[in-house]
C-alpha cells in the first residue's frame, strides 16, 4: 500500500488517537504504523498526542504497564478476599487525580476491587468530607485532604505508617515510606507527630514566565517582589490593547485560591498569618504591605481575575493572556500540551525572593512556615469510618507506590512525591521536551520544595477560616464592596473575625 503524504499523516494521527484513547490494542497499533512505514521507539510513542486534554499528553506511554512483578503478585494475593468490593472517594480534578482515574483499571484488574472517584471542585470536596466525618457516614473510604485541612481531619483517618506496621498481610513490599520527600511529608500530611495520609500531589508556587514576551520588551526574569511589580506594570501598559496583561490572579472572593495568593503576598513581605502570640497578624505593617502589593497587581491583571480560581488563572495562561504568573507549578504541563496555543513559550523560574526577609518560624504561631513558595499539596488518607478499610488501604498503597507515582508524572509532567521518581531515568530523559510530557521544570520544583516551601498554619479551624472568613473579606475589599480600598481596614476586620473563631475554639 502506498499513501499520498497527506493521507499518510492523517492515517497516522487517527490511528494514534485511537490507540491513545484505548480503542486499539498495542499490537494493532504497531501493525498499522508498520503499514504506514513508521518505525517506533518507545520514546517516539510518547510523542503522540492523547485525548487532546492538556494533562494527558502521553497516555500512549501509560499503556505500558510497568508494575514490578512482586507488587503485582502481592496485589493479586492480598486483593483476593476483597474482590468485588467498591471503594470510593471524592477528589479535586488535579492532574495526578485525573491520571489515576485513567490508570485505576490496572488496579481493578489485579485485585478485583472497583474504585470510584468522584471528581468535583475543591470546595465541594471539603464540604463532602466535612459532612462525612460529621455524621461518620462512611460514604467515602478515602479522603483527599488538602494540606490546609490536615489538622481539621486528623481525628478521622488512620496513620498509614502505623497501619502498614500493624497489618503485615496487607503491607505492600517495597513501599518504602522513606522514599517520600521529607519536606512534603512534613508540609502535607504530618500532624502532631503522626502521618494523616500519604502525600499525593504538590502544587507549589513558582514563577512562570512567557520568555517570548519578556524578550520582546527586553525585561529580565524578575527576582524580587518589586521587580515583579515593575515587570507586570510595564507589560500591561504596553500590551493592554492586545488583551495581554502582565499577570493574572486567582482572586475569586470567598475562595481558597484568593487566600493562597494573599498568604504568599504576606509572607513575601516579611509578614505572617499568625503571630507567636497566636493572634492574627495579617494586619501588621508587613501584612498590610503585602496586601497592598497584591491590590496593585490586580490593577494590572485581567478583570476576570476577581472571579477566577486557579483554573481560571490557568486558562488565562493557556489563552496567552498573561506574561508572568507566580502560581502553581502544576499549570506548566498543561500550558505545554501539544495542542496548546502557548506550547513551549512558558518557562519556569524559582519563586520570587525578597527584598523583604522572611519572618522566622519562632515568631509565628500554630506551626506556620513562612516561605517563598506556597505549597498547596494534598494527601489521600484512609477514613476511619470506611466500611472497606482493607480494600481501600490496598488502593492507597498502589496509588502511592513507586511505579504508579512515576508513571503519573510521566503522563502528566507534574512533581512527584518520591525521591526515586525524581531520579527515574524515564523522567530525566524528558527534560528536553518542549511539548507534552516535558519535565524540564521539575528541577526548579524540587528545589522549591526542598528549600523555600511555605506552609499554612496547622490548626483545626484553619480549613473554615481559610475558605470563609479570610477570602470573603478580601473579596469585599478587592471588588470595592467595602473598606474603600483600605487594606488596613480589611485586615483589621479579618483579625477581629479570625481571633473570634480561634477563641471560640479555645485555641488562642
Amino acid at each position: 500500500m502506498s499513501f499520498k503524504r497527506f493521507d499518510k499523516q492523517n492515517f497516522i494521527i487517527d490511528t494514534a488517537k485511537k490507540y491513545a484513547a484505548g480503542r486499539m490494542s498495542k499490537r494493532d497499533f504497531l501493525k498499522k504504523m508498520g503499514i504506514a512505514g513508521v518505525g517506533f521507539s518507545a520514546y517516539n510513542a510518547g510523542m503522540l498526542g492523547g485525548k487532546g486534554r492538556p494533562f494527558f499528553g502521553n497516555m500512549a506511554h501509560a499503556q505500558e504497564n510497568t508494575t514490578p512483578p512482586e507488587v503485582a503478585e502481592f496485589l493479586r494475593e492480598a486483593g483476593k478476599p476483597f474482590a468485588g468490593t467498591t471503594i470510593r472517594y471524592t477528589s479535586e480534578a488535579t492532574p495526578p487525580t485525573n491520571v489515576l482515574n485513567e490508570l485505576k483499571s490496572e488496579f481493578t484488574e489485579l485485585t478485583g476491587i472497583n474504585v470510584e472517584i468522584e471528581i468535583v471542585p475543591l470546595e465541594q470536596v471539603l464540604a463532602k468530607a466535612t459532612q462525612d466525618v460529621q455524621g461518620q457516614l462512611g460514604t467515602y473510604d478515602i479522603y483527599y485532604l488538602d494540606q490546609a485541612w490536615t489538622s481539621t481531619f486528623s481525628p478521622d483517618t488512620y496513620d498509614p505508617v502505623e497501619y502498614y506496621d500493624t497489618k503485615p498481610d496487607l503491607a505492600m513490599p517495597g513501599f518504602d515510606f522513606d522514599d517520600f520527600s521529607k519536606p512534603l511529608v512534613e508540609g502535607i500530611c504530618e500532624y502532631d507527630g503522626k502521618w494523616i495520609g500519604l502525600p499525593f500531589d504538590i502544587p507549589i508556587f513558582t514563577l512562570m514566565y512567557r520568555k517570548d514576551i519578556l524578550e520582546k520588551h527586553g525585561i529580565e526574569v524578575p527576582r524580587t517582589y518589586e521587580d515583579f511589580t515593575k515587570a507586570v506594570e510595564m507589560i500591561t501598559a504596553a500590551e493592554k490593547e492586545n488583551n495581554i496583561f502582565g499577570t493574572g490572579l486567582q482572586a475569586k472572593s470567598g475562595h481558597y485560591s484568593l487566600e493562597c495568593d494573599w498568604s504568599q503576598a504576606v509572607w513575601g513581605h516579611g509578614g505572617s498569618i499568625f503571630g507567636a502570640d497566636k493572634n492574627f497578624s495579617g494586619n501588621d505593617e508587613a501584612g498590610v504591605a503585602g496586601l497592598e502589593w497584591y491590590q496593585n497587581l490586580l490593577k494590572n491583571a485581567p478583570a476576570a481575575s476577581v472571579t477566577s480560581t486557579w483554573d481560571g488563572q490557568w486558562q488565562m495562561g493557556a489563552a496567552g493572556q498573561i506574561a508572568l504568573c507566580q502560581s502553581w507549578a502544576e499549570f506548566f504541563p498543561g500550558w505545554n500540551a501539544d495542542d496548546s496555543e502557548v506550547k513551549g513559550l512558558w518557562e519556569m523560574a524559582k519563586p520570587l525572593e525578597g527584598s523583604a526577609t522572611l519572618r522566622s518560624r519562632d515568631d509565628v504561631g500554630f506551626g506556620e512556615i513562612p516561605g517563598w513558595g506556597h505549597q498547596g499539596g494534598s494527601s489521600i488518607a484512609l477514613s476511619r469510618y470506611s466500611k472497606n478499610p482493607e480494600a481501600a488501604w490496598l488502593f492507597l498503597q498502589w496509588a502511592c507506590s513507586k511505579d504508579v507515582m512515576t508513571r503519573c508524572t510521566l503522563i502528566g509532567g507534574f512533581a512527584p512525591m518520591r525521591n526515586s521518581s525524581f531520579s527515574d531515568p524515564r523522567i530525566v530523559e524528558r527534560k528536553n521536551l518542549e511539548g507534552s510530557g516535558t519535565t524540564r521544570h521539575l528541577d526548579t520544583v524540587k528545589w522549591t520544595i526542598d528549600n523555600v516551601m511555605a506552609s499554612e498554619p496547622d490548626l483545626a479551624i484553619w480549613a473554615g477560616v481559610a475558605n470563609n472568613e479570610i477570602p470573603t473579606e478580601l473579596g469585599k475589599l478587592l471588588t470595592g464592596q467595602d473598606y474603600d480600598g483600605s487594606a488596613k481596614k480589611c485586615m483589621d476586620q479579618v483579625a477581629k473575625l479570625v481571633d473570634a473563631v480561634v477563641d471560640e475554639a479555645d485555641l488562642g
Binding site: 470546595e123 471539603l126 464540604a127 466535612t130 459532612q131 460529621q134 481539621t152 481525628p155 475569586k252 472572593s253 470567598g254 478583570a303 476576570a304 476577581v306 472571579t307 490548626l459 483545626a460 479551624i461 473554615g464 475558605n467 470563609n468 470573603t472 473579596g475 469585599k476 475589599l477 478587592l478 471588588t479 470595592g480 464592596q481 467595602d482 473563631v501 471560640e504 475554639a505 479555645d506 485555641l507
Partner: protein, 296 residues
Amino acid sequence: MKKRSVLPRWLTSEHPLPWLFPVTALLIVFGLYPVLYSLWLSFFKRNPATRKEKFMPSWNWEKLLSDDRVWDAVQITFTYALLALSIQLIVGLAIALLLDTDRKGFGILRALMTLPLVVPPAVTGMMFLLMYDSSFGVISNSLYALNLLSPSAPILGTGSTALWGVIIADVWQWTPFMVLIMLAGLRALPREPFEAASIDGASGLQSFIYLTLPMMSKIIALAVLIRGIDLFRIFDYVKVMTDSGPGTATETLTAYAGTVYFKTANFPYASTVALATLILVLVTASIFIKVFKVRF
C-alpha cells in the same frame, strides 16, 4: 340503611382524623420536628477543634445578632425581594393587560408566556450565566456594543451589577407567574362598571386607576404575598450564578446559611441563621396577611 359502626367515633370516616392523619403525620415528622430540632441545635455552642458541643442557649443567637454578615445578608435579601417584586408586579400587570384579549393568536402567546415557569431555577441560573459571560455571552456582548458595559467589568463579577444580574434572572422566570394571576383577575372583572365609566366619559387610564386596580387589589395582594415569600427563600439563583459573590454582594440570608453549613461545618450556627430566615419569613407574611386581609 346505615350500618351500626363498631369502631370508636374518632376512627370512623365521619371524623376528620383518619383523613388528616397521613398528611399530619408526615408534616409533623419531617416538617415540624426538624424545625424544633433546629431550634434545639441552635442552643449549643460547638467547638470546631474538639467537635464537642456545649449547651449555651444564647451563644449562637448573640452571635447572630452581632454578626455583620447576617445584617448585610438581611439587607441584601430585602433589597433583592423588593426590587424583584416591584418589577415583576409592574411588568406582570402591563403584560397581562397587553395579552388580555380574545383576539386570535393571543392564546398561543399566553401559553408561551408560561414556559419560563417550568425551567428548573438551577437551569435558569445556568442560562443566564452563559448569557452574562464576559467573553462570549450574548447579553454581555450586546451591552458592550451599546457601550453600556465595559469588558473589564463582568456583570456577575462586579459588585454593583451582580445583584442586578441575579434579579434579572428571577424577573425573567417569575414575571409570567404574575402575568398569569393578573390575567385571571382581569378576566374575572365584571363588565358593567367599565361600560358605565366609559359612558360617563372616563378615559382608559382613569378606568384603570379607579376601577381596575381597586377591583384587582385582592388578587394583587395574594400574588405579592406568594411571590414575596418565595423571594425571601431563594437559594438556587445565588448558589448557581454567583455563589454569594463578588465579595458578599449577592449573599442572601439563605445563601449565608448554606455557606456556614458547607464551609465551616458549624451546624448549630448554621441552624441559627436558617431559623432566622424562617422567622423573617413568618413575621413578614403574618404582617402582610393581617394588613391586606388575604384569604385562602
